[in-house]
Amino acid sequence: MNRSKPRIGAYICRCGTNIAATVDVEEVAKKIGFLPGVVIARDYTYMCSDPGQNLIKSDIKEHNLNRIVVASCSPLMHEATFRHAIEEAGLNPFYFQMANIREQCSWVIKDKALATEKAIKMTTAAVQRIRYHRPEKMRPIDITPAVLVIGGGIAGIEASLKIADAGKQVYLVERESSIGGHMAQLYKTFPTLDCSA
């Protein structure tokens, strides 16, 4: 991997019409394509779809890309998706940056010209940033195989028993002196009219 010379691929998602209706995605792709280091800039209907991801993967191979920017939705939605995709194509997943031109742009700006301008700036920011990305590593760490359940009503009891039956340690914390919650106060319960204790 060549860290000194970024070869950036930038992808502008249309998200059906979610983005494309207010952002001129072709204009964005065109502008981004002129930025230094950007080897390829495209727009596509659904970047998150399999064909969308495959587009990135094949471009990485074909154009020897080493940085990927996707301008689409919130990273909460699809950052993991794209990181996974570029990892499959042999890139470190942190050579990736997302610009949220949907929630922070197309959904909140009505004027197409303004939205397009903002989308360009947001995508440019991502492109500028990614030059300085480094190949980071996720840190694996052991999980404590125990669960804390807060509240000893029926939900807490049910969840505790399920987990404990699977052989895991459960700490069931109850505020009162005994468990059962409201259920312990009931007589018969619908729809079967059986006893609640």
Partner: protein
């Protein structure tokens, strides 16, 4: 519930709440506070012996206030865990104020239940002199009493006196009883002897309290008393019209019978020397027995007597006749009054008390004046005037007397007001000091004569093994109850000394003081949980019947009076630690010294299942909950439950079965005034309630509903069955419920065309909705999860993440997420369990690399980063900041704070951020 209790993989922590959650997905640490149960869960067999003897009654929250429960309680016979618990809200203010730690609230609650013998044992736990303190105590407990905020404090001292008198009258029976003050012991204790001997100088309250404690610890105390009667100031300082000799003698006899040796007429001249005469420790508790005189003219004339000497002579039997004399008592306190009233009884001389301003018990002052004692206050005296070698009076000046500052009165003499107060006998009662006759001439003990003897924290003098307690330690007089406290302290200190530091530790309550506010008091009194009667005052025998004898002046309360007075107690701390339960528990499972426990647990995931709070219909007056026989559905559940407060009977306030019942849907739900949401369980439980009323109560049932939401599996069929059983359904929105003569009038609008819009019934059941728990906001903040607008905890996504939260590793289930019924709750709990299992079963979790890192070369170790880190993930070691990479959340606060730019955030370094900004601003 039972399976939870015995599952080997479930650790059940009851009476517990989460205080803190730290860490991250897969590796959380929870800090849990477990409140003291005061009953050892593993030892309690649930036999109920403790609750049967508990005198305290409080509203039972499990029964929704429909019944009472004891301070020692268990929610139901089927509870898991089955162990009892004890409810304490703090230490009662009366006990907190008492120097001797008397469990006043504890014994008062027993008196309220006519349990005088039990009350006696409770008093005697800390106090070997109930008869004395029931008469002559300064009762600071009453000053602290919460009831004083409302009207007048409980007459605690009179209650104690009654109990002590009752015990004296039943003293022969007491001998046959086990001493409940020390569980499992007979009245006369048998102790495992330690072989250690302790000499005690003085048989006053301090010396005898210490002696009794020491003998009960197995040591051998020997008490030396210089006078011919034991009791110290209680015997030679307090006249019998206030404290009869026989009561004191009985209480001292009880102490002797436990094995305390008292040698009378034995003056010790070398206290430290006793260590060489076979004693392992010495306690000086000699008291302060010498009244002081001021060096004014003629104060050395033999017509000047000392209060201590005068009282001692009279009380030890010397015949003194004062008839025809003019006595002037100099002093302002209780001793001056004792002297004056004793003098009156020796031939009714003219008695005047001369002082700046009285500082004494109001009750004693009134009694003295009734007996003919004249108080001449606002005066300062200048000299004793004599003529022909005889005293003729005291020359005085009038004075302006102000308040008390630093224990002394502010006094301004008025020049030119000089006058003579006539009298031929002066008795000085201005204060007392100790003598130090028990120390040899060249004593190495550091005394601060005349203000006491210097001791360390363990009440020991500078001589190893010589201890001091009581008035002689301080160098001035205080009350019996203070001396008792000193005696206990000294006994524990001596025990620790004899056991080389082991032995009994100093007790501590570890609880806040449970002083009630005026609002809380009013609530208790209006709810009838404390009597609204005024304080019962003690009465006295008429002055003419008492001024020529030493009969006790104050009368004890009658049994009815004492119970009435005890019923005024507000039982501030709930449990008053009367210790009846400890005596009753055969397993020894009760431990009142338990403290809250902080428990840390490490977990990989958290499931929040804190449930809901029932809507409180008191805030919705249109539903008539303020009227009798308007109840909530949950109250109905308790009533119809065979283990509930009515044993399964649904009855009205008059005890009769209702003939006609209305059930109101949507109370608090789907209503802009209260909650917009549907509580989702109420339609169905209302139908169930209707079936139960129809079947078990055999009453006519009317349901007033707005929409019938029977969406679940088998629910519509349930509705149909209810209709077929003959339940009447009315569509409408309830406008009002009003109370009419003999019935409740329910009316509604939006009724179907030409259908009824009201019904008159005997009972109304309100189908109240669900609300978030009261502390949902606090828990959300503790766990770092969000809440939706309605206040319930917010799931990650209503469809894609219904049991997850935005905080990875924290899951939700049940009504804490949104109102739901039992089938949905159980289903969601299963989902949450699966999600949590799926997480913790992965073995490892991958954490984001975006955390802080230190450029060691740049770090100056100033520590500002550690101060600002919200996760406590930074510490300074060897002058350099270190990062706990697992607790760092990558928030960047440290990087923004570091003045040297030594802190950077991986994946968010300056270069990356600045070029991103450049891009955005291009």
């Amino acid at each position: 519930m039972v399976s939870v209790g015995r599952h080997e993989n479930i650790e059940l922590l009851t009476l517990s709440e989460i205080e803190e959650l730290s860490g991250y997905v897969g590796n959380f640490k929870a800090t849990i506070r477990q409140k003291a149960r005061y009953v050892q869960e593993d030892m309690c067999t649930g036999c109920e012996a403790c609750t049967q003897v508990c005198p305290i009654e409080v509203l039972n929250p499990f029964e929704l206030g429909l019944a009472m429960r004891h301070a020692t309680y268990r929610n139901s016979a089927q509870s898991t865990p089955n162990a009892f618990a004890i409810q304490k809200t703090g230490i009662a203010p009366c006990r907190d104020a008492c120097p001797a730690d008397q469990r006043a609230m504890g014994y008062i609650s027993l008196v309220k239940k006519h349990r005088f013998a039990d009350a006696y044992w409770t008093i005697r736990r800390e106090n070997p002199f109930p008869s004395v303190c029931g008469r002559v105590c300064n009762h600071v407990c009453e000053d602290a009493c919460s009831r004083g905020e409302y009207d007048e404090p409980v007459n605690i001292v009179a209650i104690k006196r009654f109990v002590a008198d009752w015990a004296y009258q039943h003293r022969d029976e007491l001998d046959q009883m086990p001493d409940k003050s020390i569980p499992g012991t007979p009245f006369i204790h048998k102790h495992q002897p330690t072989g250690k001997k302790v000499a005690i100088i003085g048989s006053g309250p301090a010396g005898l309290t210490a002696a009794l404690d020491l003998v009960r610890l197995g040591h051998k105390p020997v008490v030396y008393e210089q006078f011919s009667e034991p009791g110290g100031m209680m015997r030679v300082g307090i006249p019998p019209h206030r404290l009869p000799y026989d009561r004191l003698a009985w209480e001292i006899d009880l102490i002797r019978r436990e094995g305390v040796e008292i040698h009378l007429n034995h003056r010790v001249s070398n206290a430290p020397g006793l260590l060489n005469k076979g004693f392992d420790a010495v306690l000086i508790a000699a008291g302060v027995h010498n009244a002081v005189k001021l060096p004014i003219d003629n104060s050395d004339h033999p017509g000047n007597w000392l209060s201590t000497e005068f009282l001692r002579k009279v009380l030890l039997g010397e015949r003194i006749d004062l008839s025809g004399r003019h006595v002037i008592v100099l002093g302002a306190g209780d001793v001056a009054l004792d002297v004056a009233r004793t003098a009156i009884r020796l031939g009714q001389p003219k008695v005047q008390i001369l002082c700046r301003g009285m500082r004494c018990s109001e009750h004693e002052l009134k009694a003295a004046e009734e007996e003919g004692v004249r108080i001449l206050s606002s005066r300062v005296f200048k000299k004793v005037v004599t003529a022909d070698e005889k005293i003729i009076g005291i020359r005085c000046l009038d004075a302006e007397v102000g308040g008390i500052v630093d224990g002394r009165r502010i006094v301004r003499e008025k020049p030119g007001t000089e006058h003579l107060v006539e009298g031929d006998l002066i008795i000085w009662a201005l204060g007392q000091k100790g003598d130090y006759d028990f120390l040899p001439e060249e004593t190495p003990i550091v005394s601060q004569n005349p203000t006491g003897i210097q001791t360390n924290n363990e009440m020991m003098t500078n001589i190893d093994g010589v201890f001091v307690a009581g008035d002689i330690r301080q160098g001035w007089t205080s009350f019996v109850v203070n001396a008792i406290d000193e005696g206990h302290h000294a006994a524990r200190a001596i025990d620790r000394y004899l056991n080389a530091g082991a032995g009994i530790p100093e007790p501590s309550h570890g609880m806040p003081v449970a002083k009630l506010t005026r609002e809380e008091i009013e609530l208790k009194i209006t709810a009838g949980r404390a009597s609204n009667q005024p304080r019962i005052k003690i009465s006295s025998i008429p002055p003419e019947e008492r001024i020529n004898n030493f009969k006790e002046v104050d009368l004890t309360l009658t049994e009815d009076q004492v119970v009435a007075e005890a019923s005024r107690c507000l039982e501030c701390g709930v449990c008053g630690e009367c210790m009846e339960c400890v005596a009753a528990c055969e397993k020894g499972a009760i431990d009142h010294t338990m403290r809250d426990r902080i428990i840390d647990v490490n977990i990989g995931a958290v499931i929040v299942t804190t449930g809901f709070k029932d809507f409180d219909p008191r805030i919705a007056p249109e539903y008539g909950y303020q009227y009798p026989n308007v109840i909530t559905a949950l109250e109905f559940e308790r009533m119809i439950n065979p283990s509930g407060p009515t044993g399964g009977k649904v009855v009205m306030k008059n005890g009769r079965r209702p003939r006609k019942v209305a059930i109101i849907h949507c109370v608090g739900s789907r209503d802009d005034k209260y909650h917009q949401y549907c509580s989702r369980a109420c339609c169905m439980y209302s139908l169930k309630t209707a079936q139960l009323v129809h079947e078990y109560v055999e009453a006519e049932v009317h349901e007033i509903y707005r929409d019938m939401r029977t969406f679940g599996k088998g629910y519509e069929e349930f509705f149909n069955r209810t209709k077929q059983e003959g339940v009447h359904f009315h569509h409408g929105r309830v406008k009002s419920i009003t109370r009419e003569e003999g019935y409740l009038h329910v009316s509604w609008d939006e009724a179907f065309f030409q259908q009824p819009d009201h019904v008159d019934v005997d009972m109304v059941i309100l189908a109240t909705g669900m609300e978030p728990q009261q502390d949902a906001a606090r828990l959300a903040a503790t766990l770092g999860i969000s809440r939706s607008n309605d206040g319930f905890f917010l799931e990650l996504h209503p469809k894609l993440g219904p049991v997850e939260t935005r905080s990875e590793g924290i899951f939700l289930a049940g009504a804490c997420q949104s109102p739901k019924d039992i089938p949905d709750t159980v289903a969601q709990a299963g989902g949450a369990a699966a999600a949590a299992l799926s997480l913790i079963d992965q073995g490892t979790v991958k954490l984001d690399p975006a955390i802080a890192q230190v450029q060691e070369a740049l770090c100056a170790g100033c520590g500002q980063c550690a101060t600002v880190c919200p996760y406590g993930a930074i510490w300074i070691e060897n002058g350099i900041a270190h990062i706990d990479e697992y607790n760092c959340k990558g928030c960047g606060t440290c990087a923004a704070t570091c003045p040297n730019k030594a802190m950077t955030l991986i994946h968010f370094d300056d270069k990356q951020l600045i070029s991103e900004l450049v891009g955005a601003l291009s």
